[in-house]
């Protein structure tokens, strides 16, 4: 009741009413302010405010900059070139010039002259070791060499003709200076494969130095038909022929096909180290030591090396097939060679006949198939009869066996 009286008194005068209303309002506002202060204080003490503020600081770094000569980030228009150091010659290079420079520097490019210098170095070394093996052919970086194969193909064709052509030389057969003319059809028919191979190889061996041989052989081989393969060809090559071959081709065994690389010594795909390793494998100690008795060693490393001649096909004679399948090791005196022509793995016949087959592969890609002339097969065999070593890590299985090199040589 008392309150009521008071209220009435308050309300009666407008000023009083105004005042009391305002005081009530003020109290309400104070309460709200207190609530806000509590909120802020709690947030600050808990560190929530610091979280929000952190974002604001980062913005300063990436603020958009406006200026006359400066781009949005505040950077000058001319870009700084990234520099890098060449690993081989240790020069500071601009990033955009790095790749071409590296190509030339490491000698891996198309036009890099490092290959030439490498070849010269290789030449001098091989000349010293082989005692003046054949000259290096510069011409065929890309071409497969079918010099010997073409001769053999001619011979086989002659054989097939059954002597119909008689003793006539074929049109494509040219007699080179100082060489024995190609044998007559009769004689080739009668001779066994190794003999045929060796005769052709001997003929070619004399002309091994001719750098133009590959090109002529190519032309010849492409026109000739491929006949049945003659086996044991490569092994029947003499040491000299093998060495000659290895001085003329790159010779590194490709991991894909297991065949010798038939590019020239300047081949950019392989390094000198690889070529040296292959030569060590194929030719064994002989080329370096020079005193190892051939008969005592007689170990054929790359049984994988074989020459396979495919039927009815084209230009390339594959020199070397790598043994990629597991081959049971036969008796110690035999050489196991398996050929792989890129399509079908062909298991070789027992090594009694000799390890090498010559086959014209269908794959005409020079990189894959290693082609060589039959003339060089003898040389190859000689070189192989050395160290027992696996050629490459991949699929190459070398059944290192004692080569019946005597047996092979008998075909000479």
């Amino acid at each position: 009741m008392e309150i009521l009286m008071q209220l009435k008194r308050l309300v009666s005068t407008p000023e009083c009413l105004e005042k009391s209303a305002e005081s009530a309002f003020e109290e309400l506002v104070d309460d709200v302010i207190l609530g806000v202060c509590f909120d802020v204080h709690r947030a600050v003490k808990l560190g929530l405010t610091a979280l929000e503020d952190g974002l604001i600081e980062e913005e300063n770094k990436y603020q958009i900059v406006e200026g006359p000569d400066v781009d949005v980030f505040g950077q000058l228009p001319v870009k700084k070139q990234h520099e890098c150091v060449c690993p081989s010659c240790h020069r500071n290079l601009a990033a955009s010039r790095f790749a071409p420079h590296l190509e030339k520097c490491m000698g891996m490019g198309r036009n890099s002259s490092r290959i030439a210098s490498r070849r010269i170095a290789n030449n001098s070394k091989e000349n010293a070791s082989y005692g003046g093996g054949g000259t290096v052919s510069d011409d065929d970086d890309d071409a497969d060499w079918t010099a010997g194969g073409s001769d053999r193909r001619r011979k086989r064709r002659d054989r097939h003709c059954g002597g119909g052509g008689g003793g006539r030389r074929t049109k494509t057969q040219k007699v080179r200076n100082g060489e024995v003319p190609p044998p007559t059809a009769n004689s080739t028919c009668t001779s066994n494969s190794t003999a045929a191979a060796t005769t052709s190889s001997s003929k070619d061996g004399g002309g091994a130095g001719a750098s133009t041989m590959p090109s002529t052989s190519l032309g010849a081989s492409s026109s000739s038909d491929a006949a049945l393969p003659s086996k044991g060809f490569f092994e029947s090559m003499s040491d000299e022929d093998k060495r000659n071959l290895m001085t003329q081709i790159c010779g590194v065994i490709s991991e894909h096909t297991g065949k010798l690389c038939l590019r020239s010594m300047r081949c950019p795909l392989h390094t000198e180290d690889q070529r040296r390793a292959v030569r060590v494998n194929l030719l064994g100690q002989q080329q370096f030591v020079g005193q190892v008795n051939k008969s005592s060693q007689e170990v054929e490393v790359s049984d994988c090396i074989s020459m396979v001649v495919e039927r009815g096909s084209s230009t390339v004679v594959s020199l070397i097939g790598v043994n990629q399948a597991a081959v049971p090791q036969r008796g110690g005196s035999q050489v196991d060679v398996e050929m792989y022509d890129g399509d079908v793995p062909i298991t070789r016949e027992p090594a009694g006949k000799g390890g090498w087959e010559v086959e014209h592969s269908n794959t005409s890609s020079p990189a894959d198939s290693a082609s060589t002339s039959s003339s060089s097969s003898n040389k190859k065999r000689e070189k192989s009869s050395k160290a027992k070593k696996k050629n490459s890590s991949k699929g190459v299985k070398v059944s290192a066996n004692v080569l019946i090199s005597n047996h092979q040589v008998g075909g000479d």
Binding site: L10, S20, A24, L28, V32, V40
Partner: protein, 90 residues
């Protein structure tokens, strides 16, 4: 005098209603954010550890009172007056 009004407001629950209304209105007009920013500035000046609630309240209250928009004030005053008159005539 004040206590009488207060008492009446609380008894009837009108104070709560009025307070809610005031809060809503002040948030709508952005008053609350304004006061919050001010509080944060005070905290930055004095450092996080050195701030108490009392400090904040003592600093912010006079400014907060001044920042209340007139429209909000009038509305609330109107409501209070009508309440008082109503109560007086009961």
């Amino acid at each position: 005098m004040k206590t009488a009004i207060n008492q009446k407001l609380i008894e009837t629950g009108e104070k709560e209603r009025l307070k809610d209304l005031l809060r809503t209105r002040l948030i709508e007009c952005g008053w609350r954010d304004q006061v919050k920013m001010h509080c944060r500035e005070i905290v930055k000046q004095r450092g996080v550890e050195g701030v108490t609630v009392d400090d904040l309240v003592n600093d912010v209250t006079p400014k907060g009172r001044a920042w209340v928009p007139d429209s909000v004030k009038k509305e609330l005053l109107q409501k209070i007056k009508s309440f008082l008159v109503q109560q007086a005539n009961l």
